[in-house]
Amino acid sequence: MSAPMLAVDAVSTSYGAVQALRDVSIEVAQGEIVTLVGANGAGKSTLLMTICGDPRARAGRIAFEGRDVTQLPTHEIMRMGLAQVPEGRRVFPRMSVMENLLMGAQVAGHDPPPLLDQVFALFPRLRERQAQRGGTLSGGEQQMLAIGRALMSKPRLLLLDEPSLGLAPLIVRQIFSAIRDLNEKEGLTVLLVEQNANQALRLAHRGYVLVNGRITLAGSGRELLAMPEVRDAYLGGGH
């Protein structure tokens, strides 16, 4: 394996006096789906946000495609070919679906129409709803819109923060199969933060388990799924 697409090396982050991440190191290689699982407050979202430079890492180094991005401002990091689907979807509620999607294309400056076709092919629902206001969509549609909006910048690495949050199991399966499609057909690299460890580990090539701001386990998705400590802690086994 050549140099990883994303390398997080011994990163620590704190919110004031509270240390949220301690010496976290993860790698994401080109073409992989990597998932980060852990309990509430383990620091999963913090790690994702730290990669985007908000909050900034207090120690350690983050490199994307070989470039050190640790000290770059957020908006510059987000222009380098990575896109984020924020936690809680955060679509623009008063703007139409179309406007939401165009906001995603705006910064990268790619020609929107072919990208729009791609997003609509992935989520046909969005094509039907394109004139509708973002805030009136259902939760699942909003998640589709948030992912579609991120894809509009034609990213090479997609960061997903809890895409299954508050969605019905059927919709979660749809979203996850869309992520798999993007990875297999488009070769998109994905870093997925999930509380839904079961499904996330099934989808991912590799996974990391985060406990209290530290990586405690790492391995392939299957390996982690099979580990008793993972089963006990995150998959509800035996409780």
Binding site: R90, F92, P93, R94, M103, V107, A131, A150
Partner: protein
């Protein structure tokens, strides 16, 4: 009357009247509690110079009765209206259709106003005043309506523009047309200066800092006597010329009247000022509409919707906020320069907090983000304020009542819907009922 209404209500929903009576009785009780000490007892100076208490129970009774029947009427009316909520969608559609011809109609009226028979000096002056506020409303709308940054100190930029023009014109003898862009640039510069410290603030916190900023500018203007003349203000500000031709009564060839060979009249200057502010206001409108379709304008709206999502999409939030402040301030500066040249005299008294409040009220009542709504709100607020001039001190009461009424009937402003800037196929307005209250 009330009996009839009650009877009808009774037939539909038997419980409404009883509930309404109870509600009205409670209201009357509250009114009595308030009015007995405030109105019922009054201290007067007696014949021997001592204080004596006069009792006015009749007045209290009238007030309590008004409260009782007012509440009863309101509750029964609401009960009769019932669940008429779905009508808002239809109403949005009607408003949208009305909007397509109301705007050109208003514009047409504004253009021909000086030539309508019966339009005198007073009407033109009122028109200029209304248009000034329309322009200020549109300018503030960029900051509040589009970018969602609550600015309570907008009058500061109006003041910067006015003083810029006044000082540049009286000190260096620069003409209005040179000073106008300079005033705009200086105001924009102050907009950025305000923008920097408040970058991390939103909502209430931002409002407090901008309020303080507005006051700081005013206090500096009062106290920096050597530059601004302090409370005395600046007098003798040059009046505008018609591209170099002064509006003078002499009728010589190098004056406006003389050049065009018409009878000199003081109305010429007023008409010129009227068209000047009309053009400036339309420029503000045009730029706002253009900006909304540009990436920067769309970023403003996205910023209003969700700042975190904006960051996630790689939008430079700092630049986006600063440009919104600068752009809004620039138009405030233009309006200020116009104000200075129209008045010929400015003092800090013209730039108090109430001005900021009125401009913000225009933006909010108009339905934040709606260009035509703001124009109508300015017309109603400023024009209406003039209309009730005879009521003297009760004018503020009418004013406040009208604002409460608008907010009760249309909580998202007169035109609360918003049309997307891009669409494949037909554009559809986004109804007011889908627009969060108080969220730009």
């Amino acid at each position: 009357m009330t009996g009839e209404v009650a009877a009808i209500t009774m037939a539909n929903r038997p419980s409404v009247t009883a509930a309404a009576m109870k509600d009205a009785a409670i209201t009357a009780l509250v009114a009595a509690g308030l009015f007995i000490p405030i109105v019922g007892l009054r201290t007067d100076v007696g014949a021997d110079g001592a204080l004596m208490i006069r009792q006015r129970w009749a007045d209290v009774a009238i007030l309590v009765l008004i409260a009782f029947f007012g509440r009863l009427g309101l509750v029964t009316w609401r009960g009769l209206r019932g669940e008429a909520k779905p009508r808002t969608a239809a109403r949005t559609e009607v408003l949208r259709r009305a909007g397509t011809f109301v705007a050109p109609l208003l514009l047409g009226a504004a253009v021909v106003l000086p030539f309508i028979p019966g339009t005198g000096r007073y009407e033109l002056d009122l028109g200029i005043l209304v248009l000034t506020y329309v322009m200020l409303g549109w300018g503030l709308n960029i900051v509040v309506g589009l970018a969602g940054l609550l600015d309570l100190g907008y009058v500061a930029f109006y003041a910067v523009g006015a003083y810029s023009y006044a000082l540049l014109a009286t000190t260096f003898g620069l003409s209005f047309w040179v000073c106008l862009p300079l005033a705009g640039i200086l105001a924009a510069f102050w907009g950025i200066l305000l923008g920097f410290p408040v970058l991390r603030l939103r909502g209430d916190y931002l409002a407090i800092v901008t309020l303080a900023f507005g006051e700081i500018i005013r206090v500096v203007l009062i106290n920096w006597v050597s530059l601004t003349g302090g409370p005395n203000g600046i007098t003798g500000i040059p009046r505008p010329s018609f591209f170099g031709l002064p509006f003078s009564m002499s009728g010589e060839p190098d004056t406006f009247a003389g050049f065009f060979g018409i009878e000199p009249s003081p109305v010429h200057r007023v008409i010129f000022l009227y068209y000047l502010i009309l053009i400036l206001a339309l420029l503000t409108n045009w730029v706002s509409i253009r900006m909304r379709r540009q990436p920067l304008g769309r970023a403003w709206e996205a910023l209003r919707e969700d700042e975190i999502a904006c960051r996630a999409l790689g939008i430079n939030v700092t630049n986006t906020k600063l440009t919104a402040f600068a752009m809004g301030a620039m138009f405030g500066g233009f309006a200020g320069a116009f104000f200075a040249t129209r008045q010929g005299f400015i003092s800090p008294e013209s730039f108090t907090f109430i001005e900021s409040a009125i401009i913000l009220a225009i933006v909010v009542l108009g339905g934040m983000g709606s260009q035509i709504g703001i124009a109508i709100a300015a017309l109603v607020m400023i024009g209406g304020f003039e209309l009730f001039r005879d009521l003297d001190e009760y004018r503020m009461l009418v004013f406040g009542g009208a604002m409460v009424l608008i907010m009760v009937v249309r909580p998202r402003g007169l035109v609360g819907s918003r049309t997307p800037t891009v669409a494949l196929g037909a554009r559809r307005a986004i109804g007011a009922e889908h627009v969060g209250e108080g969220r730009g």
